[in-house]
């Protein structure tokens, strides 16, 4: 909502409330969009929002989880911090999943929670929750504001911490009496964080070591994670790869950091990665990890991970280096600065022609495959078709499950920051609200939200926001009438005992969309898909497409749990 009344900012009379001070601080921080939901403990803040004449949008979700996933989507595509406001108690606890998700995927989010008044904190007052206690393990940092005078400083610190170094969520808990208090003084927002000095510049000695290792490598491979995206280092990565003809693979979250159609690109690595990417990691003699954290879904069984390789790891977070995989060449730095430093060195061109030929053969001989159904819609084909019809240019958000992996496999990206997915936490219910934030952050881009029939039902109430804001999001439900990924694991590892994974009952998604005033279409024949999707993508406004796909499909290839990256199953028909 936009705002009406006015108040005098420069006045020294007691005319500002703590909440007004907060709004000024947000405006100072450059905030243009706030995702939130009101309640008792944030009434002063919502009153200040109502009265403020600053130009920012407040987006009212229909559940606080919707607010925070939207803020994550916004942050992921714009690179700016996402801002969330929620009330005390249940408002704050409804954010927990999203805060944890942002922590795992290193997204800059600043969350303001209301708290009960200072004098009743600790008495189990109405709607009191120990937000500091609950959010300590899932935030980069958190604050409870004790005095109004410290609020501007806290807000400034919170944005700084959230968006620098390795990004992450920061919670600011504000007791109601602090936001309601009248204030006259203008408080300085200077701060000092002596214990927080992220190191962006690489140690030159480590760069020399890395350059030397590269010049000697016979089988080099670059693993590019989301650190490339946060550091805006895609150009540098491309230059390094092309100059030394280095094969590149991405993590799930790193997709878009290297052009998907590039001849040096081998695809995504990990549990559902390509044969070429995983065998590349298995056989390489130098693995240069840039901004990835060697997550277990990437590495598989660590015993078999990159067994012949010297490991170099560039990361802004020193604690990630050596955490899971022993590292010979640690480079604590911003990915862009590290790559720039590496590009400045003269490096002997590595002797790796045979390796390149081998990997190219892997790529050609073992591409992603699926058996296309002749009657029903194959979900992989559906995702390929979405890619084709949007020329690979859309911002794609996904939920979690089989459709997510198919989207990662078949929607390849040429450009960065167009891929929004929940990697570390694997949060069902993420994809659709994330699309709302992405569309608000990038109003002129086509946003396609690929969701499962299960996960969509976890946050479907946010359809109201899409309608209210006239967001032209294209929602594609990959509807297999099942918790597909659970069903797949039960098929593969539990002798097809489909315990609680097949839906007997799903809503009529078209009517659901229509009840929110959103255009709905459904398709269950392959021959009609292209026509329906074309209509959806050219429709001027939001559309929900319910795509009925084959239920019994599995995501392949796969590294079974406990297996090594060289032990993929389902590599070819």
């Amino acid at each position: 909502m936009k705002v009406q009344a006015k108040h005098d900012v420069g006045s020294t009379k007691k005319t500002l409330t703590g909440a007004d001070v907060l709004i000024h601080a947000l405006v100072d921080a450059g905030v243009d969009t706030i995702f939130g939901y009101p309640g008792g403990a944030v009434l002063p803040i919502y009153d200040a929002i109502y009265r403020s004449e600053a130009s920012f949008e407040h987006v009212l979700s229909r559940h606080e989880q919707g607010s925070i996933h939207a803020a994550e989507g916004y942050a992921r595509v714009t690179g700016k911090p996402g801002v969330v406001i929620a009330t005390s108690g249940p408002g704050a606890t409804n954010l927990i999943t999203g805060i944890t998700d942002a922590m795992m995927d290193s997204l800059p989010i600043v969350i303001f929670t209301g708290q009960v008044a200072s004098n009743v904190i600790g008495t189990d007052a109405f709607q009191e929750a120990d937000v500091m206690g609950i959010t300590t393990p899932i935030t980069k940092y958190n604050y409870q504001v004790k005095e109004l005078s410290e609020l501007p400083k806290v807000v400034k610190e919170a944005f700084h911490i959230a968006s620098t170094g390795r990004p992450g969520p920061v919670v600011v808990d504000i007791p109601k009496d602090v936001s309601a208090e009248l204030s006259s003084a203008v408080h300085e927002a200077t701060f000092e964080l002596p214990g927080y000095q992220p190191n962006k510049t690489p140690n030159p000695l480590q760069i020399i070591k890395l350059a030397d290792a590269l010049s000697r490598a016979k089988r080099p491979l670059v693993l590019a994670g989301a650190g490339i995206l946060f550091a805006e280092a895609t150009e540098e990565l491309k230059e390094l790869a092309e100059r030394y003809q280095l094969p590149v693979i991405n993590t799930l979250l790193g997709l878009g950091g290297f052009p998907g159609s590039h001849e040096l690109f081998l695809g995504m690595g990990g549990m559902h990665g390509t044969y070429a990417a995983n065998m590349g990691m298995y056989e390489c003699d130098l693995l240069i990890n840039i901004g990835a954290r060697f997550d277990d879904r990437l590495t598989g069984n660590l015993e078999h991970f990159a067994p012949k390789a010297r490991i170099a790891h560039i990361d802004i977070d020193p604690a990630e280096i050596g955490k899971n995989v022993q590292t010979e060449i640690p480079v604590v730095a911003d990915a862009k600065e590290a790559l720039q430093a590496l590009l400045l060195r003269s490096i002997t061109f590595p002797d790796h022609q045979d390796w390149k030929v081998k990997l190219t053969r892997y790529k050609q001989d073992y591409p992603l495959w699926y058996e296309r159904s002749d009657k029903e819609i194959s979900p992989q084909w559906l995702l390929e078709t979405v890619h084709r019809l949007t020329q690979g240019e859309a911002i794609v958000t996904t939920d979690v499950g089989q459709h997510q992996m198919w989207a990662a496999q078949y929607y390849s990206f040429e450009k960065p920051n167009r891929w929004v997915t929940s990697g570390g936490l694997g949060t069902m219910g993420f994809g659709f609200p994330a699309a709302i934030g992405a569309q608000l952050g990038e109003p002129n881009q086509l946003v396609v939200s690929i969701v499962g029939d299960g996960g969509f039902q976890m946050t479907a109430q946010e359809l109201a926001v899409v309608k209210e804001r006239k967001l032209p999001i294209k929602i594609i439900i990959v509807n297999n009438q099942a918790l597909g990924m659970v069903r797949q694991w039960q098929e593969s590892f539990y002798e097809e005992r489909y315990s609680e994974s097949l839906f007997m009952e799903n809503p009529d998604f078209i009517k659901l969309a229509e009840s929110y005033g959103i255009h709905g279409m459904s398709v269950d024949k392959e021959t009609e898909v292209i026509d329906v999707l074309k209509k959806a993508f050219s429709f001027n406004g939001p559309v929900l497409v319910d795509c009925r796909v084959v239920q019994q499909e599995c995501v392949y290839p796969m590294i079974a749990p406990g297996k090594g990256i060289h032990e993929m199953i389902g590599v070819s028909k």
Binding site: G133, T136, Y141
Partner: protein, 172 residues
């Protein structure tokens, strides 16, 4: 292996919770923590005695501590010349004849009796953890009714010899 780690931290609300929570989440085995103010206002010192499996785990521990925004400095002082002390209060049963006997045991430890009742006495001992442990072992036969320890607090000696004879990880 046992290590003594000191963290200098900013004295902000929740800092102890944040650090112990992180140690718990990351499955570090903490034998003791002692926390108190330092020479600088607003800055506290935490002394941890930890049992870690190997050097990689130790490196993770110091990195994770350093990563905390309130942590200013982390040092592993295990292999340096240090003074490490802890304090224990030990209540043992004893009256009449036994008291004299107990007194005889504690004197070489420079421990003192700080409270006496009809049938018990409370002993205070300060020193290196191995010394404190030794006294506790000697008192055990007399029946320890209550025991509390502060945990180790430590810092570097003013003078660091070029070679540290004593390997602290064994003695603390």
């Amino acid at each position: 292996m046992r290590r003594i780690i000191i963290a200098t931290v900013q004295n902000r609300g929740g800092v102890l919770n944040r650090i112990t929570g992180m140690l718990h989440k990351r499955q570090f085995n903490i034998e003791s923590i002692s926390v108190g103010s330092s020479e600088t206002e607003g800055i506290s010192k935490m002394t941890f005695v930890v049992d870690v499996k190997d050097h990689q785990k130790l490196e993770q521990l110091t990195k994770q501590l350093n990563k905390q925004i309130d942590v200013l400095k982390v040092s592993d002082i295990t292999e340096r010349a240090i003074v490490a002390r802890e304090l224990a209060l030990i209540k043992v049963g004893g009256s009449g004849q036994l008291r004299a006997e107990i007194q005889g045991i504690i004197t070489p430890f420079r421990a003192s009796v700080i409270d006496v009742s009809k049938d018990s006495l409370t002993i205070q001992v300060t020193g290196r953890p191995d010394k404190v442990e030794a006294l506790i072992a000697l008192l055990r036969p007399y029946g320890i009714k209550e025991l509390t320890k502060t945990g180790v607090t430590a810092f570097l000696r003013g003078q660091q010899p070029s070679q540290v004879a004593e390997i602290n990880s064994f003695t603390i």
